[in-house]
């Protein structure tokens, strides 16, 4: 009888909200010395990481070396739902952003380098059965970028440079529960995994240093669209009677990674002391929505889903300094203030973004003429951020969870460099 099929006429509603994905997930850990100085670097020429921060300054790094750094990001996110209930947290899992560079001066005027770094990424695993389980349970977004750089000193005071940037590796793993429960009590679950296509971008920079006491730089890093054209859809615990609404095999999605405009100055009032000031403008406004297209079937009875992001461009202000205590030992400190790219009422669990303050410290111990160790520590304190269900209704963003987020992140890091 046809009337029976009416029973599930509303089935499309079941997963009208496949809005799981990521952003606001810039990782500012692309050079260990820079990390210790509040993430400054556009107006500096500290080491081979200048390829990332300002390829125009790279030529002024007057030595050849290889360097590598590894960080351990320890996120601590607390959440309390709008409707009360206990505080919820993450299953604590640490992530390890890294960076590595080599730079070689062909002449006083010309320098080339290679680099590898992880400027975007996010890994969060919310506690089992948490309030927002139907919006997101797990995200693991990883990216590795490679860069080839050339930098040229037009005069001893003016350098320019450019890098060819490649999204070498990118993968995503998104999971959430589906609000359908079987008679055995099991809640359905969806997992989307995929690898990003290789994409090419660039960065360019310029530095002007009228004296050894002062330098000013500007750089630009292009946007890259991370595209997953054929990711895998895996569902589990879907009751047999509704399995026909969850047949999708593959998905495609595009995640826009923003352009970054940077301006920075460096000041060296004495031989020992360096001070730096940076401003970054991150072009998050191109991230307006997260759209998935499903193939090989449907997910939640639909062949696509769209979730509003409506990000805005975000500014970060950075301040840092280093003091050379002795020939072997240098200490660093810094801080920054990051404005949030996520508007009020648009916060998603994959990026519980908020305005944040960072405090950093670092050191270099030059073990020998060739070999040195760079240590850094970063502590980020996010502003507590709340959104009510009424906010979500008003914005049409009810595919996320109402409540209050509070995040702190600690990131110890260690690097080594070898000069030759």
């Amino acid at each position: 009888m046809q009337a029976k099929s009416l029973l599930l006429a509303g089935g499309a509603l079941l997963v009208a909200t496949t809005g799981v994905q990521a952003s606001g997930f810039q990782v500012g850990l692309s050079g260990q010395k820079n990390v210790g100085m509040g993430g400054t670097g556009t107006g500096l020429y500290l080491d081979q990481a200048a390829q990332f921060y300002n390829p125009g300054a790279f030529v002024f790094v007057a030595y050849n070396s290889v360097q590598g750094g590894l960080n351990m990001a320890v996120p601590r996110i607390s959440f309390r739902g709008d409707g009360g209930g206990p505080q919820e947290t993450l299953q604590n899992k640490n992530v390890f952003p890294f960076n590595g560079y080599a730079g070689y001066s062909i002449s006083d005027k010309f320098k080339v380098g290679v680099g590898v770094y992880t400027p975007f990424g996010s890994e969060l695993h919310y506690a089992q059965g948490w309030t927002g389980r139907y919006t997101l349970t797990d995200i693991n977004l990883r990216s590795v970028f490679g860069q080839l750089t050339a930098s040229y000193a037009i005069t001893p005071k003016l350098g320019i440079g450019a890098g060819l940037v490649v999204l070498a590796l990118g993968d995503v793993d998104l999971q959430r529960d589906i609000p359908i429960q079987g008679q055995n009590g099991a809640v359905a679950h969806a997992q989307l995994t995929g690898k990003a296509e290789h994409k090419v971008g660039y960065n360019v920079g310029i530095m002007f240093k009228p004296s050894d006491k002062f330098s000013i730089g500007a750089s630009y890093r292009s946007a890259i669209d991370a595209r997953i054209s054929s990711g895998d859809v895996t569902v589990s615990n879907v009751p047999g009677s509704v399995a026909s609404s969850f047949t999708a095999k593959n998905f495609s999605a595009t995640l826009p990674l923003p352009a970054v405009y940077s301006l920075g100055v460096g000041v060296r009032p004495t031989e020992q002391l360096t001070l730096a000031l940076d401003a970054n403008l991150v072009g998050w406004s191109r991230y307006q929505s997260l759209d998935f297209t499903y193939s090989g079937g449907v997910l939640g009875g639909s062949t696509s889903s769209s979730s509003v992001r409506n990000y805005k461009d975000a500014l970060a202000l950075r301040l840092g300094g280093q003091y050379k205590v002795s020939d072997k030992f240098t200490v660093r400190a810094g801080g920054f203030y990051d404005f949030s790219c996520v508007r009020d009422g648009y916060v998603t669990p994959e990026t519980p973004d908020a305005e944040r303050v960072g405090l950093t410290a670092g050191f270099t111990y030059q073990v020998s003429e060739h070999f040195g160790i760079d240590g850094s520590f970063l502590f980020e304190d996010f502003a507590k951020r709340s959104q009510s269900q009424a906010d979500l209704l008003a914005n049409g963003t009810t595919d996320r969870v109402a409540g209050t987020y509070k995040t702190v992140i600690s990131v110890p890091g260690i690097g080594v460099h070898y000069k030759f």
Binding site: K4, L8, G10, R80, G81, G83, G132, Y134, Q181, A402
Partner: protein, 452 residues
Amino acid sequence: MTTFSLLAARAARPALALLGLSVGLAGCQADIDAPSASPGPLDFTSYVAVGNSLTAGYSDGGLYNEAQATSYPALLAQQFGATGKGPASFVQPAFSAGKKDGSGYIQLRTVNGALAPTQPTAANNYLGELLAATGNKLLSGENQLEAYSGTQPDNLGVPGISVLSSVSALTGGQAPYGLLNPFYERLLTQAERPAKDYVTYIGQKTPTFFTCWMGNNDVLAYATAGGVVSLLNPFGGLTDTTRFGSGYRAILGTISKNGTVKGAVANIPAVANIPYFRTVTVAAVAAAFKAANAASPGVFIQTSSTATPVRLATSADLLTLTAQAVVATGAGSLPTNPLPNQYVLDADEQAAVLARTTQLNNIIAKTALRFKVPVVDMNTFFTSVGNTGVVANGVNNTTTFASGNIFSLDGVHPTPRGYALVANEWIRVINGYYGSTIQPVNPTNYRAVLFP
């Protein structure tokens, strides 16, 4: 400038870590203060819930332990408890463990490739449910249920009870409810059954706080029977306003000890909005008939009208959820085989139900004022839920049958998820009236319909 002092305090951590003392990292979890849960002037030491099936936690066409455990009074008691003002325990009349499925309940089964709500019957081995039927029948013909032997419960919800059937005098003592309703019968002793009416029964409690949600069955019994009143059932019609007013005042006066005990009451939702009347539509049935026979002119229904006892249904007529099984046999396809009257709530009957609901809600509002308690406007709440649904934690809950999450498989009573939303509406109104800050429950922690 507390922000700055916090930052200063935290600034110490990086320095420590640089010295290798990173042991402090795990302690960095920032806490978000819990919202206050204050009882205000209220005392929940003895919370008592008066009502019908909705209060009992009836779901999927039955009363069974699992659904009873998430009745809205049980959820309220749990949230009241979080204020520190009790109750230490909240007693519900559960069935014994070996008969935990009580009166039995409807489950979804896949039949011929389609989902079908299925009643437990002897033929399907009662779907494996552990029923509490004793094998005896009551005067009403209903199955007697295992007697409840504990202390008088705090959840006094009795499925099926109406205001009219709560006060024996309203029917001249001619319809002893303790002998008619198995859910009431099981709560009473042998001696009490012929004589003790519900208003007397609830008067035995001495609450410090109460909720009362009565009156639904004074319109619902008539509506769900398609406006057909069985001569055998003295409580199957639309209760008249005079007797409703008298009965409701007796109930509220009794449980509030004449307005000296604080509490809250809820009114009657609009019956025609429930999935019981919104799932099997005239248009869908007509389309099915047309698919089977291209010449089919539509759906023939029997009505109460003597002028046109059989006519073609229009979109203004509502068919009951139970009509589905009858339609499947071909009823309604021909004027000689119309869909029987009890499966149709026609436009006239809907108007009568709506008008009476409004009148009874006015009586509830007046009586609540008299006994100084707030009214939880469930009528407005369910109308709004029907129009827009309720989104919570990324999940859209609507009044759509089965997949909408709010209504259980009988199309009338909520799921545990639905009862959680109902509990939150009580909490919202109680907080607003008394200035308490009882915290709501998280609806997504409670299940909706389970699928095979």
